[in-house]
């Protein structure tokens, strides 16, 4: 598909000038008259009974307006579950801990004061006494029969469980007699967390006279926030307005509306005041949602040639105590996607979401990505076990174009994908075979541990559940001919004001500068799905396309009437509507707009005044994108430090709207995945005390560590009108197993193996020290 005037072009971002000059407007930049400041008092015990919350000293401090506890707020709160999950069972969410605490960081009181400084002073004066009890910190221990219940109201620590039956043919494969090889491995992914650079925050202003609740919030999803806040506060939804303005990253953490925002909105309603709460970094690390804590037990049954015949996957995800969403996880999707881009006739799975006395789990860029982590790490383990190169194993098993449409063994239909092509493109760019030669030489001659790893996956974007697949665009042409587009999205770094303007300018044949995208405001946009789940290009993009088609058709009818030409003889190009082949016979876009609004007597008889359209696009359940990540690493045998040498991503997201932005999304995801695999680790001790509560302990990757990322593109259009596919999460899905596999590949030279992350120096050195003494040393090979 050839690039358009704007679609397919790496145009510079509309957002950048304001953000580069300090003129963005983030939630902490919002000030309203009479605004008070909030600070939470939080539990420093993971599990225990609240003996006393004495706020008398805090209330006596000058400048303190209120100290609110569970008794003041919880009885007034409606359901805190996200709209999409209202009917699902989940953790018993609550604004403020009452009676007991269930993780370190759980709010036990909310201080409201005239300044942030005073609010924090007062928070320290609140006297909280908690009688500690044995905490459930380890997710496998939580499954023990004698484990204490994280939620005493529930009868189990298993929040959700889903299992597919095992067909007799599959059982025979897994048990051995019908397969040449049966390989079993378990993998553990450690706890980490999204860490947007802007923490969460809210300004909530209740206007008693009008009954309105005006909210400014760092959110990916203003309409969901509006409805969640309406439910929790009891303010009717049409009187709640949520504005996002600029949002400093989210990565899933700001998709649903978290506990603290709901609590502050409720407090604003109860007090009848304007309240601001800006999360601090310690709060963000210990009490915003965590992610990625998974265990997978994998079994592959294969034939003599290593072809996959059957698979079983047993998955446990740690939901923490109060996850965002029913369990905070994606267990069912993890299990259903486990066989991914490989042919596999028979498969089954079980997945369990388990409560622990830790911070709740929530969405983080590809919430289901453990399917790719477990599978891709399993593929390399299997290949090593049966003596086949991991690339060769993938070539034998990958779904080829000729296999499409291919139905996954769990029933999901795979089409318009190119996993085999991205695999070949990626290994071609990195020079896989030459690296294998160099790897052997470096080990033999110098004793250096080099490794190469692949992460291959298909990514299900767009939405399977209402309203995740639907967006509405309102395209308005004003009397000057300029265009304003309203979208229900909540851009938080994706550049939606740019990419959607590209789509609209393309469709209407006008300039990019003539289009403004308005979004992130529940009052001036139609109800929409927000920004998340890699959905904007397909869903919002096509809602824009549909609305533009209506506007264009009306504009052509007006122009045809003005020129006394037939509509079918006209074309739109270069800001005007002209008779095809006779560009001199044309009406400019501003003239059409002026007639539509201001010279309505010149409109065709019976035509409605104005030039605007509202259109809703509902996406098909899946718009699969796919990618292959390949990287090379060196493992320092003395220090255990992993250095990434090269990093290649071959991506197929269909038709790209803005390749620069696509590559930016890939890069951001890849580096989050690298950070998550090598550096980032949220640590609890055995009693559930968090140990990584600052950026000195929770280590994010910096510019000094990251590799230069090299990109390849394959373009297989989706079946939706623009041919786009969602890709915002993929970078963070493919990178963890690619890095893990490269490190495992390097360690295998020394006879060492790994089965868990993070791959910090301690893990690497432990693995090297544990290796079998019979493994060859460089001297033996020489």
């Amino acid at each position: 598909m050839s690039a358009g005037r704007f679609v397919g072009q790496s145009v510079q971002r509309v957002e950048d000038p304001r953000l580069l000059t300090g003129h963005g407007r983030y939630v902490d930049d919002v000030t309203v008259p009479g605004m008070l400041h909030c600070a939470f008092v939080r539990s420093d015990v993971a599990r225990g009974s609240i003996v006393r919350v004495d706020a008398s000293a805090a209330r006596a401090l000058e400048g303190v307006v209120a100290v609110l506890t569970a008794d003041d707020l919880n009885g007034h709160a409606g359901s805190m579950q996200p709209t999409i999950l209202l009917t699902m069972a989940g953790a018993p969410l609550r604004p403020i801990a009452g009676g007991d605490v269930r993780f370190v960081g759980e709010p036990v009181a909310l201080v409201v004061a005239e300044s942030r400084y005073v609010a924090e002073d007062a928070a320290e004066l609140v006297d909280v006494e908690i009688d500690p009890d044995r905490a459930v910190v380890d997710v496998e221990r939580a499954l023990d029969d004698d484990a204490p219940l994280v939620h005493p109201e529930l009868d189990s620590n298993v929040g959700a469980e889903m299992a597919f039956p095992i067909a007799p043919e599959l059982q025979a494969l897994l048990d051995g007699p019908d397969a040449a090889h049966v390989v079993r491995r378990s993998f553990r992914q450690h706890r980490h967390t999204p860490v947007p650079m802007e923490t969460r925050g809210i300004v909530a202003q209740y206007a008693a006279a009008s009954g309105e609740l005006r909210v400014w919030m760092s959110t990916q999803n203003p309409h969901e926030a509006k409805h969640a806040i309406a439910r929790v506060t009891g303010v009717p939804a049409h009187l709640v307005r949520v504005r996002g303005h600029d949002v400093g990253g989210g990565f899933g953490q700001k998709f649903f509306t978290p506990r603290e925002e709901l609590t502050v909105a409720l407090a604003a309603r109860r007090l009848g005041r304007a309240l601001k709460w800006i999360e601090d970094r310690r709060e963000n690390l210990i009490a915003s949602n965590h992610a990625r804590t998974d265990i997978g037990h994998c079994t592959f049954a294969l034939d003599e040639g290593g072809r996959l015949l059957g698979s079983y996957f047993d998955h446990i995800e740690d939901s923490g105590s109060f996850p965002i969403g029913a369990t905070g996880g994606a267990g069912a999707l993890v299990g259903m996607l486990f066989t991914g881009p490989y042919r596999c006739p028979l498969a089954s799975m079980r997945t369990r979401s388990v409560w622990t006395n830790t911070c709740g789990r929530g969405a983080y860029r590809g919430p289901w990505m453990f399917e790719t982590v477990a599978r891709e790490q399993m593929v390399d383990a299997v290949a090593r076990e049966i003596g086949v190169d991991p690339l060769e194993w993938r070539r034998r098993n990958v779904v080829a174009t000729s296999d499409l449409p291919y139905t996954l063994p769990t029933g999901m239909p795979l089409e318009h994908v190119s996993p085999a092509e991205t695999l070949e493109q990626a290994v071609g760019i990195i020079g896989y075979d030459a690296f294998r030669v160099e790897q052997v030489r470096a080990w033999r001659d110098e004793g250096r541990l080099l490794g190469i790893g692949i992460g291959l996956y298909v990514e299900p974007s767009t939405g399977m559940m209402d309203p995740m697949g639907t967006e509405t665009a309102v395209v308005r042409v004003d009397p000057s001919g300029r265009v304003t587009v309203a979208l229900g999205t909540g851009s938080h770094g994706q550049g939606i004001e740019t990419t959607m303007a590209q789509v609209v300018a393309e469709e209407l044949g006008i300039e990019l500068d003539d289009v403004t995208i308005v979004q992130g405001d529940s009052a001036v946009t139609a109800y929409g799905r927000g920004t998340g789940g890699s959905g904007t290009a397909v869903i919002a993009g096509n809602s824009c396309r549909l609305a533009c088609a209506e506007v264009r058709a009306k504009a052509v009818d007006i122009a045809a009437h003005l020129m006394e030409a037939a509509p079918e003889d006209l074309e739109i190009a270069g800001g005007q509507i002209a008779v095809r082949g006779t560009p001199a016979r044309a009406v400019s876009w501003p003239e059409v707009a002026r007639v539509a609004h201001l010279e309505t007597a010149r409109l065709p008889a019976g035509m409605a005044v104005g030039l605007e359209a509202t259109a809703t696009f509902k996406a098909p359940p899946f718009s699969w994108s796919n990618a292959c990540h390949v990287c090379t690493v060196e493992v320092d045998r003395a220090t255990g430090v992993v250095r990434i040498l090269r990093y290649v991503v071959s991506e197929d997201c269909g038709v790209m709207i803005n390749p620069m932005i696509v590559e930016g999304q890939v890069a951001g995801g890849v580096v989050q995945g690298i950070g998550g695999t090598l550096y980032e680790h949220f640590v609890y001790d055995d009693d559930g005390n968090p140990l990584t509560t600052t950026f000195m302990d929770y280590l994010l990757p910096t510019a000094a560590e990251v590799p230069v990322i090299e990109y390849g593109h394959v373009e297989t259009p989706s079946a939706t009108p623009g041919g786009h596919k969602g890709m915002g999460e993929g970078g963070a899905i493919g990178s963890p197993p690619a890095v893990f596999n490269a490190v495992a590949d390097a360690l295998a030279l020394a006879g060492a193996s790994i089965d868990h992350t993070p791959l910090g120096p301690d893990t690497i050195l432990t693995a090297l020290n544990r290796r079998s003494p019979r493994n060859p040393s460089p001297r033996d090979l020489a």
């Binding site: 510079q12 971002r13 957002e15 950048d16 000038p17 953000l19 580069l20 000059t21 300090g22 003129h23 963005g24 407007r25 983030y26 902490d28 930049d29 400084y117 860490v195 947007p196 650079m197 802007e198 923490t199 600029d246 949002v247 400093g248 990253g249 990565f251 601090d280 970094r281 938080h492 770094g493 994706q494 550049g495 620069m660 932005i661 590559e663 930016g664 890069a667 951001g668 995801g669 890849v670 580096v671 989050q672 600052t694 950026f695 000195m696 994010l700 990757p701 910096t702 510019a703 000094a704 990251v706 230069v708 990322i709 970078g731």
Partner: protein, 153 residues
């Protein structure tokens, strides 16, 4: 409470402040210069970086009273008064060196000081210079390219 006076982006500012007020909060709340962002408030992320008498400092770790008498430049003072972008800002835009934009003011200020002191840095020097600022969106790819580009311009 102490009275202080300083020059911020060329304008003289006077205020009576609590001794514990950070320079970052002074700039954001007293001066309404909200381009200086707070990402960690413990001196690691670099989002709050400003120039204090020309040196790039973390304004979350400096008290406003410590900046009394100083010349402070914030992100709002880096570009032209007409809204035009500096060479560093232009390079960040051209190379997609920002996404959500929250860390961006700190990077722009840090890089502006870095390239003033080292106009022709090596790639290693660029990466070391950037390592005191955290970005979560870009994977640093566009940021590193932007510094290379700005150094060549």
């Amino acid at each position: 409470m102490p009275q202080i006076e300083m020059t911020v982006n060329g304008e003289r500012r006077r205020a009576t402040v609590e001794a514990r007020l950070t320079l970052a909060d002074f700039l954001r709340d007293e001066c309404a210069l909200t381009g200086t962002h707070l990402g960690c408030e413990h001196g690691v992320c670099g989002a709050c970086t400003v120039l204090l008498d020309g040196d790039a400092v973390r304004s979350c770790l400096v008290f406003a009273v410590q900046a009394a008498g100083a010349h402070v430049t914030t992100i709002e003072g880096i570009g032209g008064e007409d809204g035009s972008l500096s060479a560093v800002q232009e390079a960040f835009r051209a190379e997609h060196g920002l996404q959500c934009g929250f860390c961006t003011p700190g990077f722009i200020v840090s890089v502006t000081a870095f390239l003033r002191d080292n106009p022709h840095p090596s790639d290693t020097e660029i990466r070391e210079a950037l390592s005191g600022n955290l970005c979560r969106c870009t994977g640093y790819q566009g940021i590193i390219r932007a510094v290379q580009r700005a150094a060549q311009s």
